[in-house]
């Protein structure tokens, strides 16, 4: 195994991700948990960058950090009266077991099937343009117009729904 800046970056990002995730699920202070979430998500964005998907990384930061995390933070602030109670419920051992089992299973499968694979080819230069085209084209190999529109409608519905639910 060769240590390169990329590998270092990967480890840092992986540490961010997993550490952040651990913080999210264990931290008693919910606000801190949210901060850990941001950390984890940053880590994920970093992984995206390492995977040569900068667009997704930017979107990740924009949506998760810029929007969802802010929302979560605000929600936590609005409902802060329950701060400081126990973080986990009574079934946490079971949950932990389930999580571990899951991790084990997944790890087993991954190691069994995907261990040691490397990229087959480089990322094409025009991938971003193609991605944009794919989202608005309705024929060809990469035609995502319909899902795209559905997703738009979903967002609209979610927006209206959120407004309707949360107002009063």
């Amino acid at each position: 195994m060769v240590i390169t800046p990329v590998t270092i970056a990967f480890f840092i990002m992986a540490a961010f991700t997993l550490g952040g995730s651990l913080g999210v699920v264990t931290n008693r202070n919910l606000f801190h948990a949210a901060l850990y979430l941001i950390l984890a998500l940053f880590g994920a964005a970093g992984l995206f960058v390492l995977l040569e998907a900068p667009f997704l990384a930017a979107v990740q930061v924009l949506i998760y950090v810029g929007a969802i995390s802010v929302l979560i933070a605000i929600t936590i602030m609005v409902t802060r009266r329950i701060m400081g109670v126990e973080s986990a419920n009574r079934q946490w051992p079971l949950s932990a077991l389930v999580g571990l089992l899951l991790a084990a299973t997944l790890g087993f499968v991954i190691m069994d099937r995907f261990a040691g694979k490397f990229p087959v080819a480089g990322v094409p230069d025009d991938s971003l343009t193609r991605l944009g085209m794919a989202l608005v084209s309705y024929e060809g190999m990469e035609a995502y117009l319909v899902p795209f529109e559905v997703a738009s409608v979903l967002l609209l519905a979610a927006m209206i729904g959120a407004i309707v639910v949360a107002r009063k």
Binding site: V98, L101, L102
Partner: protein, 745 residues
């Protein structure tokens, strides 16, 4: 003659229009209604006059009558099969056109006066105030009918319109239309004071019931007539008078056997059968025996106008119809052996004439006497048609209409005067019983001086009715019938002669009881002459009652025959027929006999009732003479009771008990309910099966499942995380299985 159609259509249209105008717009105002009606009837009269003039100046009116028409019902092939409606003015129609508008106009004038005021007793039910109680315990209240009276003019306008339709109709269906509308009018007018009751006279028929009786009784005759019309129509393909009656081929065609397969009716020809069916209508309308009972009761109508309508005009319609249909009735008549319808008419007519006259003798109601005399006189005419005296019947129809109208109006005038007298007497403090009957002749007497105009005109009318020789119209017409009967059918002649004697007698009895002697009540004492609107028609009609007869004086009659221009009426009306009937040779015997009969009847009446006038509380002298027969006559041979027993009650009983309750309710509905019950029973058995077998099985399974699931229900904690944990654990197990299967094995 382009305008003939328009004129003829306008004649009935104008009163009909008045009917609608009054009912729709002016019914709240008596005065306005009077004016509308008067304008309408005068307009009609003028038009009728024009038309009559046209008809009289048309040469050979019989061959070429004035007609106009249009397609009324397009049936089948529109050109040949359609039913046409139109007007026809032939000589017979012209006669109608003469006296119908005349009498109608007089009636209108008279009514405006007669209906000026009035009130009567009506019954009230339930809680509330009342003015009197009669012996039967009915609560009575004075009902002021003033507000109600405007529509009276509407009804008689409708009546006049209908009568004019009937007179001008060129086909049997249109005639029937007028006929039935008059039936409705009679019903409405007889029942005009529908809420009137007679205190202390519970047995006396009320106007409401009288109206229904009139309508239903005539309807009994109308139904066969409708069948007759349908039959005639289907047989000849037309209903037009001219096409049937003026057409020898059609008449010949009608003269075939109607029921060759039915032994009992083997000899009846189609013409005969139709004739009898039509005559049944006339029986009802003209109140011939056995359907005569409605006419006297019709006198419950507003005194005396509607009664006059029934007596003078409407009832004439029946006779008019059989005169009109005479060619059909007499189809196959060779001048000797009477056809079946003629036989029936002759016998029914003659019998009715005598029968009604006998009843009239014992009546004490001033209008009932006249009613029965009307029946009797109509019997004359029917009998005349029956023996083939076509012209004579038409002649008597005309004169009788005039003088009977005069008599009824006179009687109305009398009653009016007595009613006023009663009111006066009431004001002067005399106490009157609530059941005072202003129509009872025994409550009158001595009216000669108090109501002279009425008295004189009534006398003229009475004499005309009795056939007072030479100076009255009735004499001439009645004489012609008697002469015809004398020549052709002695039996009929003697029956009619007997009736004529009785007629003269009861006429004199009526005059005597009414006018002669001293007043028998305060009401009669206080009676005063009524206003001009009621007197004018009397005078006019009295004039015609005297002079109308001179148009039909026999050519052979000494002096007068030549003087009056040779029996104009006979030739004129006779030309209506295909073959003008030959005038009989003049014969003295029937003339003298009829003069003698009339005079003797009058004389006896004078002796009994005028020479020694009755005093108050006196009984009818006839009662002593006739004894139980008087009671029988007074009760009209108990025909009402008889009919009630054999027709009215059974039909009610049958319809209620048999048809409705037994058939509908018990048998049919019972069957239905039985079926329903059966299926219900079946359904319940099925339900039992379901409950105990099917459900039992199902329930036990369900219960088992329920009990089992009871123990599982705690899984349903509502905690989402628990669910998810279980679900994910399950998934993991599955994944584990897969992993084992795919990788480990």
């Amino acid at each position: 003659m382009e305008n003939i159609g328009l004129i003829a259509f306008l004649i009935p249209a104008s009163p009909l229009l008045a009917f609608f105008i009054i009912l729709l717009f002016t019914r709240h105002s008596k005065l306005a209604s009077d004016i509308v009606a008067m304008v309408a009837i005068l307009f009609t009269w003028v038009l009728a006059g024009i038309l009559l003039y046209l008809a009289l100046t048309t040469p050979h009116l019989g061959e070429e009558p004035l007609t106009a028409g249009l397609v009324w019902l397009p049936l089948g092939d529109a050109v040949t099969d359609s039913l046409r409606m139109g007007v026809l003015v032939d000589p017979l129609g012209a006669v109608m056109l003469f006296f119908v508008p005349l009498t109608a106009t007089m009636i209108f004038i008279y009514s405006t006066g007669y209906m000026a005021s009035g009130s009567y007793w009506t019954e009230v039910t339930g809680e509330g105030d009342h003015d009197a109680v009669d012996t039967a315990g009915r609560k009575l209240k004075k009902f002021d009918a003033t507000a109600w009276k405007a529509r009276f003019m509407a009804f008689i306008a409708l009546f006049a319109g209908a009568m004019l339709i009937l007179s001008l109709a060129d086909n049997l269906l249109l005639l029937f239309v007028g006929w039935e509308i008059m039936g409705l009018c009679s019903y409405l007018l007889i029942g005009f004071w529908h809420n009137r009751v007679y205190a202390n006279q519970p047995k006396r028929i009320t106007p409401m019931l009288a109206g229904i009786k009139a309508f239903m009784t005539t309807r009994v005759g109308d139904m066969p007539m409708l069948v007759g019309i349908a039959w005639l129509y289907s047989f000849t393909g037309t209903l037009n008078f001219r096409e049937i009656l003026y057409n020898p081929e059609v008449l010949e065609g009608l003269n075939v056997l109607a029921f060759p397969n039915v032994p009992a009716l083997a000899g009846v020809t189609v013409a005969g059968a139709i004739g009898i069916l039509l005559f049944m209508g006339a029986i009802g309308k003209s109140a011939q025996f056995p359907l005569h009972t409605w006419l006297p009761d019709a006198m419950e109508g507003p005194t005396p106008v509607s009664a006059m309508i029934h007596a003078a005009t409407m009832v004439s319609a029946g006779v008019y119809m059989i005169i009109r249909m005479f060619p059909l009735m007499s189809a196959g008549w060779d001048g000797h052996a009477l056809t079946l319808p003629m036989q029936v008419m002759a016998s029914v007519g003659a019998f009715t004439a005598l029968f009604a006259a006998t009843i009239a003798v014992a009546q004490c109601d001033v209008k009932k006497v006249l009613a029965y005399s009307t029946i009797s006189q109509l019997g004359y005419m029917v009998a005349a048609v029956g023996i083939g005296a076509y012209v004579a019947a038409a002649f008597h129809l005309m004169t009788h209409a005039i003088f009977k109208a005069l008599l009824f109006m006179g009687s109305g005038s009398i009653i009016h005067a007595v009613e006023h007298g009663e009111e006066h007497a009431h004001h002067h403090g005399h106490h009157f019983p609530i059941d005072f009957d202003a129509q009872d002749m025994f409550n009158m007497g001595g009216l000669w001086k108090r109501i002279p105009v009425t008295a004189w005109t009534f006398l003229i009318g009475g004499l005309a009715l009795s056939g007072f020789p030479f100076v009255t119209a009735g004499f001439w017409s009645k004489d012609e019938i008697l002469a015809d009967a004398f020549a052709h059918n002695p039996t009929v002649f003697w029956v009619l002669a007997a009736a004529a004697f009785l007629t003269a007698f009861y006429t004199m009895r009526q005059i005597g009881l009414t006018f002669a002697g001293e007043p028998r009540t305060h009401a009669a004492e206080e009676a005063t002459q009524t206003d001009w609107r009621m007197n004018l028609p009397l005078v006019v009609l009295a004039f015609f009652a005297v002079f109308a007869g001179y148009v039909g004086v026999h050519e052979g009659f000494p002096v007068l025959g030549k003087l009056l221009g040779g029996n104009f009426f006979h030739h004129f009306v006779g030309s209506t027929l295909l073959k003008e009937p030959e005038a009989l040779a003049f014969s003295w015997a029937p003339v003298l006999l009829s003069i003698g009969i009339a005079l003797s009847g009058l004389l006896i009446g004078w002796l009994v009732y005028v020479r020694r006038p009755l005093q108050a509380e006196d009984e009818d002298p006839l009662k002593k003479v006739l004894g139980p027969i008087y009671t029988l006559l007074e009760n009209k041979y108990y025909f009402d009771e008889l009919y009630d027993l054999i027709f009215v009650r059974p039909s009610k009983w049958v319809s209620e008990q048999i048809v409705y309750l037994l058939l509908d309710k018990q048998i049919i509905d019972g069957f239905l309910h039985f079926v329903a019950r059966f299926f219900e029973w079946l359904a319940f058995r099925n339900k039992d099966f379901d409950t105990y077998v099917v459900n039992g099985l199902g329930d036990s399974v369900a219960e088992g499942i329920g009990k089992t699931s009871d123990s599982f229900k705690y899984v349903q904690s509502g905690r989402i995380q628990q669910y998810m944990a279980i679900a994910i654990a399950g998934v993991l197990m599955l994944v584990g299985v897969f992993v084992w299967a795919l990788f480990l094995r």
